[in-house]
Point group: C2
Chain length 84, copies 2
């Protein structure tokens, strides 16, 4: 069966995030105040063929660590999405 998975890749705590900092600086000029701690990351969606949801998430986590993220500076988390 096919399972829909989302992998979110985010910079680890303490790693500088210039993209997030730039967004944060731009917000007040657009009228958005009270927004702090902006961190920019990546999100990947895909379908995994697996026997069950746990196997699908395990495969997605392995993929996230080998190909989708740089584990030295990034955290990757896989979760299942609504099928579609």
């Amino acid at each position: 069966m096919n399972y829909s998975v989302i992998v979110e890749v985010a910079l680890r705590e303490g790693i500088a995030d210039p993209e997030g900092a730039t967004i944060e600086r731009a917000l007040p000029a657009l009228g958005f105040t009270g927004v702090t701690n902006v961190r920019a990351g990546k999100a990947f969606r895909f379908e995994v063929e697996a026997a069950d949801e746990a196997a699908a998430l395990e495969k997605a986590t392995a993929m996230a660590e080998r190909l989708l993220s740089n584990p030295v500076i990034e955290n990757a988390t896989a979760r299942s999405a609504a099928p579609g």
Copy 2:
């Protein structure tokens, strides 16, 4: 109060996604088979100061549409994250 929000920005259906296609082609060489329909997008995490969670998500959605995404080719969805 501060609410933790995640905004996910993904290319709309039908928009070509060369990054996702490249990932998909690379997977079999790494031993990952049965993975299809890979779509690459962005994820932003931040804290929003708002009266309640609904107001925080509304502000995040407005931000996502004005600054974080290009609504012509991308969909943005905001959801709340575990506070942290």
